[in-house]
Amino acid sequence: MADHTKNAQAYWRANLRLIIISLAIWALVSYGFGILLRPMLAGIPVGGTDLGFWFAQQGSILTFIALIFFYAWRMNKLDKEFGVDEE
């Protein structure tokens, strides 16, 4: 039982860590590159405008997709490693 609890805690901590890293990237590409940091990226031209505009209208969405698939893949692997998967 003690082992089981320890294992469960480690699994949950690993999940929280993954969520924090993913959400940091989520915030960086949208609120960061897309909005607040746009003036800093103004020097990087992308097709008639700048990188910040690209992140606001394209890049953030593409990053969101990558993040969800990365999270799903990592978590489904963690489920098996910690023996908490459904099968």
Partner: protein
């Protein structure tokens, strides 16, 4: 063949498909009615979620909003997609593990309180009903424009179709029709966009065309657009925004509002496993992104096309004569969505930004005010006509717009009816109701919800447009924080959750009412809705009523944690429940209870 006949074939054909699916996918049990039996393939569910989520607002209005606002309205693009990251990581897998049928189910059980469940039911119904009004009116407008019936008649046809598959098939029928509706709407959205991108930039992928060279002028497309609108006194299309605090809060409100909308969350109860719920959120966003990556291209290209139509020789030369305007402008003038008034009597159409800063230039050119008002909503619908695309593309757009409105309406109606039959009747009023009785109650609630929605669609309250802000505000400020705390904290108790939800709900509603009118009654607003009146408005960083959902969510979190810390922790069995939703093992399919 006439355009009317083509539209009829496309719309009629798509409707025949939805009815066939309805007959094939009838629901026999409450489990099939609420969660489609719990065996939906995650990719398929992703597609259904995309149709469920992308409403008339995404399909018809969003590109128009971006065209008008340029970079500033990128908030819609980020806000309406970023919520899926939150759903995938913070809500969907755990709620799927919990394994019941509705959102109030979880809130009621986790916070061991009928009060919490009823507050959740109230939030769900207010958010979903306000949302469904927009879908029904959207369907009515699309019908009246493309099928030459009255808007009310169109609404009734739409209601009958939704009634057929939603009442018969419940979530099962809705799921498979949404898959078909997704296919219709995404084809309808992307085909005209590909044609227009090819015409303007030679690049057949609109998201790349957006950043390519404008073939005619040899300049980058966005630089050309900036140049034209600047000549007419508008802000540059790509210009940065000054009030970044409000831009951040508005985007955040849309994101957490999206993650907190019950009709989206319940879609993740239909997949077989927790792992599938995670994948499914990813697939949903892939299918959503096909439209959302195309929309900004449609927006800028349509604005450029429109400006080039009105100023064929460039913005510094004379504009087009009203008598020589293209046919599509005449068609849309009859709907009242394009209005022209020859203010300076020169027979030409002048479009410019009628502000004091531009007044000198305007009077130099003999202009006496902006003469053309174009409703944002027609941009996508009129796009094929503006770009001179063949008639079948217009028929496709008609079928696509209706698919977007109907799929979202059905999802919302299911969320409303299951909250009534499952949470209100079975969960509170009559817990001993039989399976058959509950299924009948679910069907009756669905029927009543459709009738109410149709009536509201025909008699839209004058405040229909503002209420969308309310739907997102409520989902963001009340539902999302309650769900998240229920999963990620074992310490938040019944009193904390109820106090938090009410604080988030009330603060958000009051802030919206202060600027948009109490209960949206015209003329009752306490303050004029202008940026310098908003909270912190004096600093230039005012918070708009539409952005307040994120603040309401923070208030909810703060109140819930404070009240919980001052009162007794939840009982051990609840802490064990929280523990169990965190681990996928032992999920099984969504269970009856």
């Amino acid at each position: 063949m006439s355009q009317f006949a083509i539209n009829l074939i496309f719309v009629g054909g798509s409707f025949a498909l939805y009815i066939a699916i309805a007959i094939w996918a009838r629901a026999g049990t409450t489990k099939e009615f609420y969660v489609a039996g719990g065996g939906v393939n995650p990719v398929m569910n992703g597609m259904a979620t995309a149709a469920d989520w992308m409403s008339a607002a995404s399909f018809i209005s969003m590109a128009g909003l971006i065209a008008a606002g340029g970079y500033a309205n990128s908030t819609f693009l980020m806000g309406w997609t970023g919520g899926y990251v939150l759903l995938a990581m913070l809500l969907a897998p755990y709620l799927r593990k919990f394994g019941k049928f509705t959102v109030p189910d979880f809130i009621g059980d986790r916070f061991y309180s009928t009060g919490a469940r009823l507050v959740a039911v109230a939030c769900l119904i207010i958010a979903s009903v306000t949302y469904v009004i927009g879908q029904m009116t959207g369907a009515g407008v699309a019908f009246s424009r493309f099928l030459e019936v009255s808007s009310d008649m169109g609404l009734i046809i739409a209601a009958v179709i939704v009634f057929l598959y939603a009442v018969m098939g419940g979530m099962k029928g809705i799921t498979y029709t949404q898959v078909a509706q997704y296919v219709v709407l995404i084809i309808a959205y992307t085909i005209p966009a590909v044609f227009i991108s090819l015409q303007l930039t030679g690049n057949f992928l609109p998201p790349l065309g957006l950043f390519s060279e404008h073939t005619e002028s040899g300049m980058p497309l966005l630089a050309k657009l900036d140049e034209i609108v600047r000549e007419l006194g508008f802000r540059d299309y790509t210009a940065d925004v000054d009030n970044k605090l409000n831009m951040v809060l508005f985007t955040l409100s849309l994101m957490i509002g999206t993650a907190g909308l019950p009709h989206v969350i319940i879609r993740f109860f239909t997949v077989p496993k927790v792992a599938d719920a995670r994948w499914s959120a990813g697939w949903a966003l892939v299918f959503i992104a096909l439209l959302y990556l195309t929309a900004p291209a449609v927006a800028s290209m349509a604005r450029l096309n429109l400006m080039n139509t009105i100023y064929p020789d460039g913005p510094t030369a004379d504009s087009i004569l009203h008598a020589e305007r293209p046919d599509w402008m005449k068609t849309w003038e009859t709907t009242g969505l394009i209005k022209f008034e020859d203010k300076n009597g020169d027979g030409r159409i002048q479009v410019y930004n009628d502000t004091p800063a531009f007044a000198a230039t305007a009077s130099d050119r003999g202009w006496n005010g902006n003469e053309l008002v174009v409703n944002n909503d027609i941009l996508v619908l009129a796009n094929p006509e503006i770009a001179n695309l063949p008639g079948w593309v217009i028929g496709l757009i008609a079928a696509g717009g209706l698919a977007a409105a109907l799929s979202t309406a059905a999802g919302l109606l299911l969320a409303i009816s299951s909250a009534i039959s499952h949470d209100l009747i079975k969960g509170s009023l009559k817990p001993d109701i039989s399976e058959k009785g509950e299924l009948l109650a679910a069907r009756i609630s669905m029927g009543v919800a459709i009738i109410v929605a149709t009536w509201l669609g025909m008699n839209p309250p004058g405040f229909a447009a503002q209420t969308v802000a309310l739907a997102f505000g409520i989902a963001a400020a009340s539902i999302f924080p309650a769900l998240m705390m229920g999963i990620f904290s074992k310490r938040v108790n019944n009193k904390g959750a109820i106090a938090g939800m009410l604080a988030g709900l009330i603060s958000t509603c009051v802030y919206i009412f202060l600027y948009l009118g109490w209960f949206f009654i015209p003329g009752t607003a306490t303050f004029a809705n202008t940026p310098d009146n908003w909270l912190f408005g004096g600093t230039g960083y005012g918070i708009s009523p539409l952005s307040f959902g994120a603040v309401g969510a923070m208030i909810n979190f703060a109140v819930a944690f404070t009240v919980s810390a001052l009162t007794a922790p939840p009982p051990v069995r609840i802490q064990e429940l929280v523990e169990s939703v965190r681990f996928p093992r032992g999920a099984g399919q969504a269970v009856d209870h």
